[in-house]
Symmetry: C2
Subunit: 141 residues, 2 copies
Amino acid sequence: MDVTIADNQQIELQKKLQIFFQGKEEHHEFCPVRDIMDRFGDKWSLLAILNLGYSGKTRFNELKNKIDGISQRMLTVTLRTLERDGLIERKVYAEVPPRVEYDLTLLGHSLLRKILDLAQWASGNVDEILKARATYDSKIQ
Amino acid sequence: MDVTIADNQQIELQKKLQIFFQGKEEHHEFCPVRDIMDRFGDKWSLLAILNLGYSGKTRFNELKNKIDGISQRMLTVTLRTLERDGLIERKVYAEVPPRVEYDLTLLGHSLLRKILDLAQWASGNVDEILKARATYDSKIQ
DNA sequence: CCGTATCCAACAGGATACTG
DNA sequence: CAGTATCCTGTTGGATACGG
């Protein structure tokens, strides 16, 4: 047999793709997945998760300082959404002044790992992408 | 020594996080990475890449039919952006009527693999997330 | 067949002011 | 301190019509 590593990778890839396309005329059927992946799209979710992963248990204003440029409103909205999805947990301490601490859940940590994989890919390919953009832009002028 | 697998994973995680936070007061410094990851956020890029990965070389209207719900405008916009980033390539055949074929580049294929990893995570955790949402919603009415 | 151009609605998200 | 509430703007993306 003369099966290369590349061939095996290709077969593996097709298998995974099958999972998402099998027997579905309507491809938007796997929307729950998209729904979750949309969390990658909003402006602050990734940064919130990265910062919580980096710093661990963090208070509201502390987090606000770490995530540069985020407004109070958007931090609240972002944290609520992540909490609702079970990715972070919110602990309120009955003190005066009030203290609220946020931290990743186990689920959140498992997502963090995936985010870092992705960030690693992006980081490793940013040069090639920027080069591609430059080439493209110079051609269409 | 009594270092568990979990401990090692944690250390590995912190190492990766360091890469993105090292010596940066301003965390938005690693924006090129975010810039790329924003492609995950828009409404159609992922579906375009998944479909191209699944079907290989595909024509414009063929792709339009496969990606359910996409408008002509958005397919054009999406494909242009992906082409500019060097993730897909566009081949025009000088025929009448014109024929245009799109396909993933090598870079696009490498991104496809990451997307599938992510989709696999999402797919594997969608139940837990939906359960978390239900719990959250029932608590706050 | 494969687009571009134009217009328009919906929504994400910023600024600001106020509260338990 | 840790939020809500309100208002307002910019961007995303859909619908439609037209062009090479």
